[in-house]
């Protein structure tokens, strides 16, 4: 579904750090939303973590850079990293051009699917209200000022 003019696929989970998660059994694929990419303008670097590492929901585990700002990305679920999109370290185009697809960041084998209760769906009123407030907050950037 769209919130404002930004796409938030219904099947995904979201957090308030502008990340998405696709859940297939215990396998959770994580990325950043189209909206995150728009407010970052251009993501210029991504550093992915090593596979095998365990991560904790809400704790940072990788980094990306835009506007000379090194930002940290928090894991959406706890578990072990089974795969990372390591090609992003050499070519960031997919995250800028296809953040919900080829620009995925990491796959995590979730240790507790109950943590999904801490995430939101696009249809949740709380999430829609959050995105609307973010659109207002980043209005200048989104309008290209």
């Amino acid at each position: 579904m769209n919130i404002g003019e930004y796409n938030f696929p219904d099947e995904l989970y979201y957090d308030k750090n502008h990340a998405w998660a696709l859940v297939e059994g215990n396998a959770v694929t994580q990325g950043v939303t189209e909206f995150a990419q728009k407010i970052s303008k251009e993501i210029v670097y991504v550093e992915v973590p090593r596979t095998g590492r365990t991560v904790e929901q809400g704790k940072t585990f990788m980094s990306m850079e835009s506007g000379k700002w090194v930002g940290r990305i928090a894991a959406m679920v706890s578990g072990a990293i089974t795969e990372t999109n390591e090609e992003l370290e050499w070519d960031v185009a997919p995250i800028n051009e296809d953040p919900f697809g080829e620009g995925w960041l990491a796959k995590i084998e979730a240790s507790d699917l109950g943590e999904l209760d801490n995430l939101l769906k696009a249809s949740d009123a709380e999430f829609q209200s959050f995105v609307e407030s973010e659109i207002e907050k980043y209005k200048d950037i989104l309008e290209g000022a």
């Binding site: 407010i39 303008k41 210029v44 670097y45 991504v46 550093e47 992915v48 090593r50 596979t51 095998g52 940072t60 980094s63 850079e65 835009s66 506007g67 000379k68 700002w69 090194v70 930002g71 940290r72 795969e83 990372t84 390591e86 090609e87 370290e89 050499w90 907050k137 980043y138 200048d140 950037i141 000022a145």
Partner: protein, 345 residues
């Protein structure tokens, strides 16, 4: 929040201090300049792509990788640095980067204006005077703290800056030099008389206090000194500088019991190497090597892949070494052990 007005410090301290403070959970404004020149690269940068490492080594110019973003820069005592360390939850810290830069670049802009330079904020992270950049700024999240690092440029060594960068040829270097002269200015170029370092730092402190409230002066205490010493081995070694030792492990797909197909990637000093390998019962059944490294004779790369087919994983490194010797392979910055990493992981 405290003010550490440190004056001229040994070059490693000019970086390590602001890396140490968030780790000690201290908010601070640090004002300093390095006592000797060095090159500083951004957190995500590839050192050898950005910096002429041989030139720096030959001229005793140290190189440092910071945790803050941005590009490679030549830093020296003619640049006065402000380093702000503020907790993410501090109500004075905007959470979005544009507002953060806009807010905290106001004090240096005001300092420039006080000395007669018409500085202005240029989104996202620049300060310009008459359309020329006059301050470089970068930011990072370190733990629960937001870090802003930037400088007042009293004077700038354009020649050394263009010299330390890795460029394809001298013509390009000349272009870099000319472009910097055209697009980056300094206090010295803008004013007939240079203000003193002390007056500039006093002005910076005063202008930051307008945003942050009173900043009691602090000295570098034992705890901070110890944290700087603790961080030194990590930040001043080659593994961190080159970011080697963190080869990406790539994807492994288990086809069947005992049969794996792997896509392995390894960053060697001489370039990126990729290996697509199938391994059945511990032996290589197919292999393709590729990447952006120099390998001579180039046609032997396919032969190297073929030479490894049928070998057990334990034999890989020795087989590659023998191949190198037999065919007199030259691959600067890429050793047989680097290839082994994309074959057996």
């Amino acid at each position: 929040m405290h003010l550490y007005d440190l004056g001229s410090v040994p070059w490693p301290d000019s970086q390590l201090t602001y890396h140490a403070l968030p780790r000690l959970h201290r908010e601070a404004l640090v004002l300093l300049s390095p006592a000797s020149p060095y090159v500083c690269i951004g957190y995500h940068q590839d050192l050898e792509k950005e910096v002429d490492v041989e030139f720096c080594r030959a001229n005793d110019i140290p190189v440092f990788r910071r945790e803050v973003g941005g590009g490679g820069v030549y830093l020296d005592g003619d640049q006065l640095f402000y380093q702000l360390i503020i907790h993410k939850e501090n109500p004075l810290a905007p959470s979005d980067k544009t507002t953060f830069y806009r807010k905290f670049l106001e004090p240096p802009i005001e300092t420039y204006r006080e000395i007669g330079i018409p500085a202005e904020y240029k989104p996202v992270n620049d300060i310009v005077a008459k359309k020329r950049k006059i301050s470089g700024n970068g930011a990072a999240e370190i733990g629960d703290y937001l870090i802003l690092v930037g400088n007042l440029i009293v004077d700038f060594n354009y020649e050394m800056m263009s010299r330390v960068l890795r460029v394809p040829d001298e013509k390009f270097r000349d272009k870099v030099y000319e472009s910097m002269r055209e697009n980056l200015t300094t206090i010295k170029r803008e004013l007939a008389e240079k203000p003193t370092r002390e007056s500039l730092n006093a002005s910076l402190a005063r202008n930051f206090e307008k945003l942050l409230g009173p900043l009691p002066r602090a000295e570098v205490d034992e705890e901070l000194r110890n944290e700087v010493s603790r961080l030194s081995p990590k930040f001043l070694n080659e593994e961190w500088l080159y970011k080697i030792g963190r080869p990406m492990e790539g994807r492994t797909v288990r086809i069947a019991s005992g049969v794996d197909v792997k896509h392995l990637v390894h960053k060697a000093p001489g370039g990126l190497i990729r290996g697509d390998v199938e391994i059945a019962d511990g032996a290589i059944t197919s292999l393709a090597l590729s990447g952006d490294f120099f390998f001579y004779p180039a046609d032997k790369l396919t032969d190297l892949s073929q030479a490894l087919v049928g070998r057990k994983e334990a034999e890989v490194e020795e087989t590659i070494s023998e191949f190198y010797e037999k065919h007199r392979i030259e691959s600067p910055g890429v050793e047989p052990t680097d290839f082994a990493k994309v074959v057996v992981g």
